[in-house]
């Protein structure tokens, strides 16, 4: 079928502001949006810039605003969108070129929550054991692929770029509720600051945007309740 694709493009060396580029091309319903964009880059206009790596919903490189919703271009099919497709870069981060945004502020916030295992006890000769129930507590938040779909769908993050963002809170949650980890208080201290998790207004945009179906808002509320008893 014939589809119409509108892409918000921006070349910092040539353009003062982003503009809409129109492409009409043939696609099958079973094509992914990533296939469509690849087709444009390979066959129509080689200057189109965007990120993609694994193309199978695991690496988190190709989060884009597709028909008004943050999604992974490799996980959404043309047949689920219709013949008119609008693709924009994710919001709230500076556009570097076309669909590529500057992810550094996002990763700065991620690093701020100490997203790694902290345990000062000497390592035991065998594994650090954990019961299935203890593991289940943070099972959902282990699924994050750092695509930034949640953080860049957050209305607070759009206006307040210093807000630490849902993705960082999700990754803090993953270690705060890990029974083997000892860095909980340090992480809660980071999240308790003015731009930490109290800026969340429970808009639920993050939960809707997450391509891994992580209940993001619920994770934020769980960290808040934990803070209530520990801070």
């Amino acid at each position: 079928m014939q589809i119409n694709v509108k892409i918000k493009r921006f070349d910092p060396e040539a353009d003062k502001r982003p503009y809409w580029a129109d492409y009409t091309l043939e696609a099958r319903g079973s094509d992914r949006v990533l296939d469509v964009i690849n087709h444009i880059k390979w066959e129509v206009d080689g200057s189109l810039a965007f990120r993609r790596s694994c193309a199978h919903g695991i690496c988190g490189s190709d989060a884009m605003l597709i028909n008004g919703v943050n999604r992974l271009a490799c996980k959404v099919l043309v047949q689920d969108l219709g013949t008119k497709i609008v693709v924009e870069p994710i919001r709230g981060l500076a556009i570097k070129k076309d669909l590529i945004v500057d992810m550094e502020p996002f990763f700065d916030s991620y690093r701020a929550v100490l997203p790694y295992f902290i345990n000062d006890d000497p390592p035991p000769p065998t594994e650090r054991l954990q019961s299935p129930e203890e593991r289940a507590v943070f099972d959902e938040t282990t699924k994050c692929i750092l695509c930034a779909a949640c953080t860049t769908s957050c209305p607070v993050f759009w206006t307040n770029g210093s807000y630490i963002g849902p993705a960082s809170i999700v990754n803090a949650h993953r270690f705060i509720f890990d029974s083997r980890d000892q860095g909980k208080l340090e992480r809660l201290k980071v999240l308790n600051q003015g731009s930490g998790l109290w800026r969340c207004r429970t808009a639920y945009n993050c939960t809707e945007a997450c391509p891994r179906d992580i209940p993001v808002t619920q994770a934020i509320e769980e960290v808040r309740r934990e803070m209530l008893w520990r801070a």
Partner: protein
């Protein structure tokens, strides 16, 4: 050297360092307050609506009725709670919006000061109406207005 240690050693230069230096649980306290006051405001507001609009015929409400009603200690205490929780809950919600949407620090400070000033004046008037008016004097003042 951790971020927190680095931040202690000198004035913060990056946002990360500033965040590591700051330490206050006030936002935690306000978050808890918003939940508790939100739950309290539901019965407070609906009882207020019921008492003022359904329990009495609006046609019978005049100055004398209001005076008599506001002299009952129970009404004064109930309305004081309603005033306190509605003002704190609403003003804090507006403060959240200002913190989210006004990005320049000077402007944010200015808007917050305007908000707190207006809210403070409204709150003082509310307390005066409930507790400090002498209704006999007010009554004659209102009657004097009407007779002119």
């Amino acid at each position: 050297m951790s971020t927190a240690q680095r931040a202690k050693a000198k004035r913060p230069r990056t946002f990360d360092e500033a965040r590591a230096m700051a330490s206050s649980s006030s936002e935690l306290g306000w978050w808890v307050f918003m939940r508790i006051s939100g739950m309290l405001l539901v019965p407070l507001a609906f009882i207020h609506l019921w008492a003022n609009n359904m329990a009495f015929n609006a046609g019978e409400i005049d100055f004398a009725y209001v005076v008599a009603r506001l002299q009952q200690p129970g009404v004064r205490i109930f309305n004081s709670f309603l005033l306190l929780f509605a003002m704190l809950h609403g003003v804090n919600g507006l403060r959240y919006s200002i913190e989210d949407y006004v990005r320049r620090p000077e402007r944010r400070f200015l808007w917050k000061m305007i908000l707190f000033t207006v809210a403070g004046i409204i709150f003082i008037f509310g307390v005066m109406t409930l507790w400090a008016f002498t209704y006999e004097e007010m009554g004659s003042a209102v009657r004097a207005l009407g007779s002119e």
